[in-house]
């Protein structure tokens, strides 16, 4: 009796296993492109800052038997700034790892919101780069793009990208500052002045370098700071702005630093940072250091990145500015 029970249970288990086993699915060959088709990707990362480009790669193709590519165009919802173009060359990478261009069409023409190029060689597939230079008019708004391609058989395809939000920030890169020379920094102008060209009202920060004490070295100091932090500095006569400054490290914004780090400072970072109880000086700066800045009138916030320093008493800085 016991042996029969064991056989019965085993048989049940076996049957359940058979029914629940994996079923082999038949492989089907994927169908190819049947006509003119396109695709698009956005290549640039980070915030969309006025004067910087947004780059796209637009791919289009048609089966050879149906014809060839005739033209491609991009229509932006806000006309791009000068320098906006659609690449007329196709690139391949040679054995040395270099990208080699092959001309496939005429240089693009931008008329208002539309940038267009025409193919001059028989091409059935191409990927063209589109560079949209963000105009001032787009600040704080959103921008969309419609990519289109036409073929010799009269077909047209299009691909819509966006909308993308344009940042409120401004960017200024590679400003040279030096001790007792180009040392008066204006956040409003995003510029550096000397004692001959600057004004007190526009001076938000003073750059100085002092070898002693060793913790001083490169510094950014507000004109209203204690004179102990401005040794030997002759300020411009007039109002002394009490700019707030807060030191940061390891914030190598990609747009400012152009280093291997994939970090970006965006509008939301300026909204979130509070400098109410920050000091009005920052000492001991070095390469890849940064400072959050807020002007005395609280109109602007800025992030200043130190690209490089020189022990002789100079530095190169880059800045992102946000208007409150």
């Amino acid at each position: 009796m016991r042996k029969q029970n064991y056989s019965f249970y085993f048989l049940c288990f076996l049957m359940l296993t058979i029914f629940a086993a994996c079923q082999k699915s038949d492989y089907t060959i994927p169908s190819g492109v049947s006509g003119l088709s396109n695709d698009c990707i956005k290549r640039t990362l980070g915030p969309n800052i006025v004067s910087l480009p947004i780059e796209f790669a637009y791919a289009m193709a048609i089966p050879k038997i149906q014809g060839k590519l005739v033209s491609a165009q991009v229509e932006a919802s806000i006309a791009g700034a000068t320098g906006t173009y659609l690449e007329y060359r196709s690139f391949y990478t040679n054995t040395s790892g270099q990208d080699v261009p092959v001309t496939v069409g005429t240089p693009s023409v931008t008329d208002g919101k539309i940038t267009k190029m025409s193919f001059t060689v028989d091409t059935i597939a191409a990927t063209l780069r589109y560079f949209y230079i963000i105009p001032e008019e787009a600040r704080g708004k959103t921008v969309s793009f419609t990519f289109s391609a036409t073929s010799s058989d009269g077909k047209t395809v299009s691909y819509v990208m966006g909308p993308y939000t344009i940042s409120k920030m401004d960017i200024k890169k590679n400003l040279a500052v030096s001790n007792a020379n180009a040392q008066f920094i204006s956040i409003a102008d995003m510029a550096v002045y000397t004692s001959a060209t600057g004004t007190a009202a526009k001076t938000d920060l003073v750059y100085l370098y002092r070898a002693a004490p060793t913790s001083f070295v490169h510094a950014l100091v507000a004109p209203a700071a204690d004179t102990v932090y401005l040794p030997g500095v002759t300020l411009l006569s007039g109002v002394k702005n009490n700019t707030k400054v807060s030191k940061v490290f390891n914030l190598q914004d990609r747009n400012l630093a152009a280093l291997q780090y994939g970090i970006y400072v965006d509008d939301i970072d300026f909204i979130g940072v509070s400098l109410l109880d920050a000091p009005n000086y920052a000492l001991g700066l070095k390469a890849e250091a940064g400072v959050w800045v807020e002007t005395a009138d609280r109109k602007y916030k800025a992030y200043i990145f130190v690209n490089s320093v020189n022990a002789a008493g100079s530095a190169v800085i880059s800045m992102l500015r946000y208007t409150n």
Partner: protein, 133 residues
């Protein structure tokens, strides 16, 4: 044979029940930290960081376990209103008050005091943090 087999199974089951894992009701404090039997209560190391998370100390902090003081010399230009203190404590100790962000050490005339509490929560030692430029 089957009778002896059943007896063996029964003995094994009873033994398992008697020696099964017992849930230890370990005491924890109001912060969810384990209360142990350790009575050591001291600061082993002290660090002070600026807003850029880089040390603002000029040399090592001098910790006097008897006097219960921590003497720190900071770099010229340190903004003492916005610094992050970091205490290293003896095993199982905790600190009161808790450090949740930036601390203002700018009042040099009135040094801040932090209390170290031992692992058994019975010993409390206040440490005064004295900062100089």
């Amino acid at each position: 044979m089957s009778k002896y087999f059943k007896i063996v199974i029964a003995v094994v089951c009873i033994t398992s029940l008697l020696t099964a894992c017992k849930k230890n009701d370990l005491p924890i404090d109001e912060d969810g930290l384990l209360i142990t039997t350790r009575r050591e209560c001291y600061v082993s190391n002290f660090e002070l960081l600026g807003t850029d998370y880089i040390t603002v100390r000029n040399g090592s902090a001098v910790i006097d376990t008897n006097a219960q003081t921590i003497n720190v010399t900071v770099l010229f230009g340190t903004d003492l209103k916005n610094v992050y203190p970091q205490f290293s404590l003896a095993t199982d100790c905790k600190l009161d008050p808790k450090i949740v962000g930036r601390v203002d050490f700018s009042d040099l005339a009135n040094p801040k005091t932090y209390t170290v509490i031992s692992g058994d929560r019975n010993i409390r030692k206040p440490y005064k943090v004295i900062i100089k430029f």
